[in-house]
């Protein structure tokens, strides 16, 4: 097991390097450079900016050096927790990330769980009751999940919530609760505001999971051991839960690697529509204002987290399935 984890950790290193290169390109791409913008901003604020200050900023971010040296400077800074400075927020990028990224991840992970809670029963039922109404319901949900972008769904459902329930689903907390100290009432309020985003973001994964689970379970149910177990007199429920479902449920974990990036990405758009205080609105505003270090930082950190998510899912899968652990192919 340890050997597997180590092997998997090593394969992640080149991917991390690739991510950092892409994020760096994102930082360098917009025309003009960061210090110019910063100097202009300081001048607008009435501060006098002399040449030594410009020099200092230039050398701090290595802007007087060639691109590859700037890249190494940026990476070493980042490894020490310095992601650069956001002129839009007047704050180090790392502080903004610490505040916003956990919320994005919380929503992404919770919506993954929500999507499992929805898709597992539907997936199992649509396999054992093939071509029944629940099977068609599952197919319907998966097609909607595939075809409807979350941000459109967010618009439609938010309109519904506002008009039918009279509840404004904007933000993570109601306006009167934002500055209130942590309390049960505030948590309830937060939970209410989370329902919509979790369902919407989760729907991305729900469709895929239902289809994979259904297909796998259908394959398993055809196998001989199911007949053997039935012949031995197991009840249908025991029979189903004990073997075929356990086998078919593996993909729930193995698809995390594919679904988590989509969930994190979808969360950005949904949080822009519902103005949740996560990375989404920050990313959009930073992208429009070309607050490049902030944009690069968000891209870097979200990609890294998605990568570690799929790493964790691989480890979980390996601990459940010895065939993967010992490096054999599962075929």
């Amino acid at each position: 097991m340890l050997a597997f984890i180590v092997r998997r950790l090593i394969t992640i290193i080149p991917l991390l390097i690739l991510i950092s290169i892409v994020s760096f390109i994102v930082i360098e791409l917009p025309p003009g450079d960061w210090v110019e913008t910063r100097v202009q901003q300081l001048k607008l604020a009435g501060a006098t900016v002399d040449d030594t200050e410009i020099q200092r900023l230039n050398s701090q971010y290595g802007l007087d050096k060639p691109a590859y040296q700037r890249y190494f400077r940026w990476v070493t800074n980042m490894l020490q927790g310095d992601f650069g400075y956001s002129f839009q927020w007047n704050q180090p990028v790392s502080e903004i990330l610490i505040e916003r990224v956990p919320r994005t991840m919380l929503i992404a992970v919770l919506s993954l769980i929500v999507s499992w809670l929805i898709s597992t029963p539907i997936g199992i039922l649509s396999a054992i009751k093939q071509y029944s109404w629940i099977d068609y319901l599952g197919t319907f949900i998966s097609f909607i999940g595939l075809a409807t972008p979350g941000f459109l769904l967010a618009l439609i459902l938010a309109y519904g919530a506002l008009n039918i329930l009279g509840f404004s689903p904007l933000g993570l907390n109601s306006i009167e609760m934002i500055d209130a100290p942590m309390s049960i009432a505030k948590l309830v309020d937060l939970a209410k505001h989370l329902v919509l985003p979790l369902i919407i973001v989760g729907l991305t994964g729900t469709g895929v999971t239902i289809r994979v689970l259904r297909a796998n379970l259908l394959d398993e149910l055809k196998k001989q051991y199911v007949i053997t177990a039935r012949a031995k007199g197991l009840t249908e429920y025991q029979l189903l839960m004990k073997y075929p479902v356990r086998m078919a449920i593996n993909p729930l974990i193995s698809t995390i690697g594919g679904i988590l990036p989509a969930l994190i990405g979808g969360e950005q758009l949904v949080s822009i529509v519902l103005s949740l205080d996560t990375t989404g609105p920050v990313l959009l505003r930073a992208a429009i204002a070309q607050d490049t270090y902030l944009v690069g930082g968000i891209v870097m950190i979200l990609s890294t987290l998605a990568l570690f998510g799929s790493l964790l899912s691989d480890i979980a899968l390996a601990s459940m399935d010895p065939r993967i652990r010992f490096g054999g192919t599962s075929k």
Partner: protein, 381 residues
């Protein structure tokens, strides 16, 4: 087959004919026969063709121009269509409306004037147009005509500048539906080349390309799209932005195709006919393009169909948040920009109607992809 000496197990002449048919059919015929059985996919294909046709002849389908403004008709809800006039059947017609301001909420309310009915007709004369710069006409599919005082027909309502959303939705489909087409060409070139190199030559190149695919598939694409799209200069022309958006979306879209290409090449490379071709002295290019490629073209089409909805949704999402196509260009995402905040849609819910086009197109492509996936391998049952 008519000789009685050969025993035919329980098959009538009709079944024999059917068997014969499958023996002599080409691969594409088999695929077509199998695809035809998937009713949902067939219906979806027909609808999709109609959607594309309506995008091409948008000038004709739309009652009004994409930028035509109706003064005094801003933010008007979808026009109510009446059938009965003064208690008797009149046919579909509309009434002219007068805009008033609600004294309490300051919202516009539109009061119909029920004395002057105006029938809705097909093939009416309206705003002159020049379709695709070629055909000059002023006939529109549906409308109320251009007589003086004829109340306009806003099937989906109007936006804050008084433009007809129904008309704009069809003009928007020109950009929204052609993005995937251009994207497909790019996706095809990148995916096929890299997947082909990876699968046929293997070795270190394969390893590198596979890692890059791993990387692209494990990274959340939307933040990356947002970051890349924000670097596009605002002053670019519509055509330039369109091309750039297509490129940005394709950077991510090719991986599925490359994976399929590689997998199929690895499998087909071991087939006997490849060995035979090699022994006969065929060049590598000939083997790839003449012998291997035709073997999995149908699979390529499937994975392309699956890549299409993603690029439509990508363009819509980017334009929606204001980083993609910019007005005055119209795409579905641009139309939905107006519906961006909850306050706007609470008062003018009809601004969300263009989203139905996006959802419908996505669904149609998914259904077709589903049907094609079943048909792609006609030899398995």
């Amino acid at each position: 087959m008519s000789t009685p000496s050969i025993p035919m197990p329980s098959t009538g002449p009709a079944a024999v004919e059917k068997e014969d048919r499958t023996f002599y059919a080409t691969q594409w015929q088999l695929i077509w026969w199998k695809f035809r059985k998937h009713k949902l996919a067939v219906v979806s294909s027909v609808l999709l063709v109609l959607l594309y046709l309506s995008a091409i002849v948008a000038d004709f389908v739309a009652p009004y121009g994409a930028q035509q403004r109706f003064e005094g008709q801003q933010q008007q809800p979808p026009t109510v269509i009446y059938w009965m006039h003064k208690g008797s059947f009149y046919g579909p017609h509309v009434y002219p409306t007068k805009r008033k301001s609600d004294p309490k909420t300051f919202k516009f309310i539109f009061m119909p004037d029920e004395s002057k009915p105006m029938p809705i007709r097909f093939f009416v004369r309206g705003e002159p147009y020049q379709m695709l710069g070629l055909i000059k006409s002023d006939i529109h599919l549906i409308g109320t005509g251009n007589e003086k005082g004829a109340p306009p027909l806003f099937l989906f309502g109007t936006d804050r500048l008084g433009r007809d959303i129904f008309s704009r939705s069809f003009f928007a489909s020109r950009i929204s539906l052609s993005i995937p087409f251009l994207g497909i060409i790019l996706t095809f070139i990148i995916g096929l080349t890299l997947g082909g190199i990876s699968g046929y030559f293997g070795g270190i190149l394969d390893e590198i390309i596979q890692r890059i695919i791993d990387f692209i598939q494990s990274v959340p694409t939307i933040p990356l799209w947002i970051a890349l799209a924000s670097a596009l200069p605002r002053e670019w022309s519509t055509e330039k932005t369109f091309l750039a958006i297509t490129v940005i979306l394709s950077i991510v879209g090719w991986t599925g195709l490359a994976r399929v290409t590689r997998g199929k090449l690895l499998q087909l490379r071991e087939e006997d006919y490849t060995l035979a071709a090699q022994c006969a002295g065929a060049s590598e290019a000939r083997i790839i393009f003449r012998h291997l490629l035709p073997g999995f073209t149908s699979h390529l089409i499937v994975s392309l169909t699956n890549a299409v909805p993603a690029s439509i949704l990508g363009e819509t999402a980017l334009s929606f948040i204001g980083l993609g196509m910019q007005p005055p260009a119209v795409s579905w995402g641009v139309l939905l920009q107006d519906a961006q905040n909850l306050v706007a849609i609470a008062q003018q819910p009809w601004l969300m109607i263009p989203s139905l086009f996006v959802i419908l197109t996505g669904l149609l492509f998914s259904f077709i992809g589903d049907g094609l996936r079943d048909a792609a391998d006609p030899y398995t049952r």
